[in-house]
């Protein structure tokens, strides 16, 4: 077998192990889904009237705000899922089984890649669930073509991969699961400081550049554009650039950390 087939085979084995964990202990996954769903319902049904007025001026109804908030929450769902990734990577590293993997003649990266692929699958699944809740409360894509749907899907996968690699690195540097949860907190806080809930233009001037150029805002604006036909502009390139950059950065960071002598 070539080294590439071996790498693929070991990675598949590791992925199967992670999926088995997720299937057998679904509570972590479900807990992480709760945050975006609760936020969606909270903002639409509790804050909804004020928010709608803020978005579309007086007279705008709630459905306008649902359309506005759902793309942001889909990306927040990814942020929330990767907090779980950081926690489970940190947990996993404290298990003796990882030491065993390190002394076996297997593809070195397979442990981490298994985590990443598993987490991306989990993110996509969570996005589908939150998206379904969105549709159930009235979200509709206005004029998205098949190509735009595919592009939206691709963006979600790429963005998940980016955040997941960074989260895996966070999990690896955390001494325990609690620390990993704290270290990964920016993944759910950043969407709050983006255009997910309110337009960047309504934010204080000094804060606007931060909100505008952090990874979430371009991704949210791109997704909005693809699903709702709003202006994408330079956000498309920014989103892809951020994602690819974070994938590369996270990958090198995480693999370097994993290659170090374990504590």
């Amino acid at each position: 077998m070539s080294s590439l087939t071996l790498a693929a085979r070991d990675t598949t084995t590791m992925l199967r192990r992670n999926l088995l964990h997720a299937r057998r202990y679904p509570s972590l996954t479900l807990n992480l889904l709760l945050t975006p769903v609760m936020l969606l319902l909270l903002f639409v049904y509790i804050f909804g009237d004020v928010m709608s007025a803020g978005i579309g001026g007086a007279g705008a109804d709630r459905s306008a705000y649902i359309a506005y908030i759902v793309p942001g929450l889909l990306l927040l769902t990814i942020g929330s899922t990767v907090v779980g990734t950081a926690v489970s990577v940190s947990n996993d590293m404290s298990e003796g089984i990882i030491a065993r993997f390190r002394t076996m003649s297997i593809h070195r990266g397979s442990v981490l890649v298994g985590h990443v692929v598993g987490s991306v699958l989990q993110s996509v699944l969570s996005v589908v669930v939150v998206g379904a809740v969105g549709v159930a409360i009235g979200f509709r894509s206005t004029d998205a073509t098949v190509l735009e749907w595919l592009a939206a899907f691709g963006l979600l996968v790429l963005f998940s991969a980016a955040l997941t690699w960074v989260a895996v690195g966070m999990g690896l540097i955390s001494p325990n699961a609690e620390a990993a949860g704290n270290n990964a907190l920016p993944m759910v806080l950043l969407p709050m400081l983006s255009s997910a809930f309110i337009p960047v233009e309504t934010m204080p001037g000094w804060f606007r550049p931060i909100a505008e150029y952090q990874p979430f805002t371009p991704a949210i604006e791109t997704l909005r554009g693809l699903l709702l036909g709003t202006e994408i502009g330079h956000n498309g390139w920014l989103a892809v650039g951020w994602s690819l950059g974070l994938v590369v950065l996270g990958y090198f960071w995480a693999t370097a950390k994993f290659a170090q002598d374990p504590r």
């Binding site: 071996l6 085979r9 084995t13 192990r17 202990y25 298990e95 030491a99 390190r102 297997i106 374990p262």
Partner: protein, 339 residues
């Protein structure tokens, strides 16, 4: 019985060395854990690294099993014929490791753990299932096979751990304190498992803090203390380091005691206990000569015991001076082999 245990290497013909390391070093910050130790383990033998807690045993195993890198200034390390620094993956393919802390995935079942190992060794599906079933049976884990490993007892986890190590059929196995924390029955089961491995020609590198265990299992023993090898040899060789082998004769009648004492003039007398201590290596020849001399004077001892120095004496002699008080206080009674 300690005195009759065979200690010749089981594979004396094996010219190949399974493990060689020269000048093994490791330090963390300014704390030196291993201070240049040399190790040689011939293929097919059991080697025990014996030492108190914190002596550096686990660090040595971690380095030899590629888990952590050797410290700066270490010499060449070869495991299974491969250079550890140049070709760690080849070393990994040759070895199996059961660490001190259970290396099982607690979230999945025992059987799933075994199948995971089979997949990582790239066994065909059918072969993986066969090996899994066979090892679960051999290690008495069939009933627990479908339960999550986190719920296993200490002994069961350790058995699953070793079963997982054996999936790839490694020729060199590292066992880091395989019986620490096990009850006496599980410990004996583990000893049986290790003996079976050796019977199959596997090289075993064992660490332990129990002298009895090294004495029972190992062909060669190295006593590690404070990052250095304090002594190395077979159990018998190590016991020769400390004097103290003797034959003890006890009498109930004071007359017989006095007669014996004059017949065996080299004996140390214990007048209160009516006991004589004759320095001896406990060999058949020396015993016969003592008995012959007693017979010739018509004296009969009420009790004869042979005392051989055991590894405890060696251990205390070698390790107490460096680290007083850090030595485990268990089994400090010499073994008595009544004849």
């Amino acid at each position: 019985m300690t005195v009759t245990r065979a200690s010749a290497p089981r594979a004396a013909h094996a010219a190949t060395q399974a493990i060689t390391a020269t000048g093994l070093r490791k330090s963390y910050g300014d704390k030196t854990v291993l201070d240049g130790i040399d190790l040689t383990v011939p293929a097919g033998t059991v080697f025990a690294l014996l030492g108190p807690n914190g002596a550096g045993k686990t660090t040595a195993v971690k380095i030899l099993s590629t888990l952590i890198s050797p410290g700066a200034g270490s010499g060449e390390i070869r495991v299974g014929g491969h250079d550890l620094a140049a070709d760690p993956q080849k070393v990994r393919a040759a070895i199996g490791v059961t660490g001190q802390f259970s290396a099982v995935d607690g979230l999945i079942t025992g059987e799933e753990n075994m199948l995971l190992m089979a997949d990582l060794h790239h066994l065909p599906k059918r072969e993986g299932r066969r090996v899994t079933a066979e090892l679960l049976e051999r290690f008495d884990l069939v009933d627990a096979a479908k339960k999550p490993a986190a719920g296993y007892s200490g002994g069961m986890k350790r058995r699953l751990d070793i079963a997982m190590t054996l999936v790839g059929g490694p020729r060199i196995i590292f066992l880091d304190e395989p019986t620490t924390g096990l009850d006496p029955r599980s410990r004996h089961t583990m000893w049986g498992i290790i003996r079976e491995l050796v019977a199959d020609g596997v090289t075993v590198f064992l660490t332990t803090q129990y002298l009895e265990e090294a004495d029972e299992l190992a062909d060669r023993i190295a006593v590690l203390n404070d990052g250095k090898i304090a002594a190395e040899g077979s159990a018998e060789e190590l016991k020769r380091i400390v004097p103290g082998g003797h034959v003890k004769l006890r009498f109930t009648a004071p007359d017989a005691y006095r007669s014996a004492a004059s017949a065996l003039h080299e004996a140390a007398r214990d007048d209160d206990a009516l006991a004589l201590r004759i320095p001896s290596d406990g060999s058949q020849r020396e015993l016969r000569s003592i008995l012959d001399r007693l017979d010739s004077t018509g004296i009969e001892a009420d009790e004869l015991t042979v005392h051989t120095p055991d590894l405890d004496h060696v251990f205390f002699a070698l390790t107490t001076s460096a680290a007083p008080g850090s030595v485990p206080a268990q089994h400090n009674q010499p073994k008595e082999n009544a004849r």
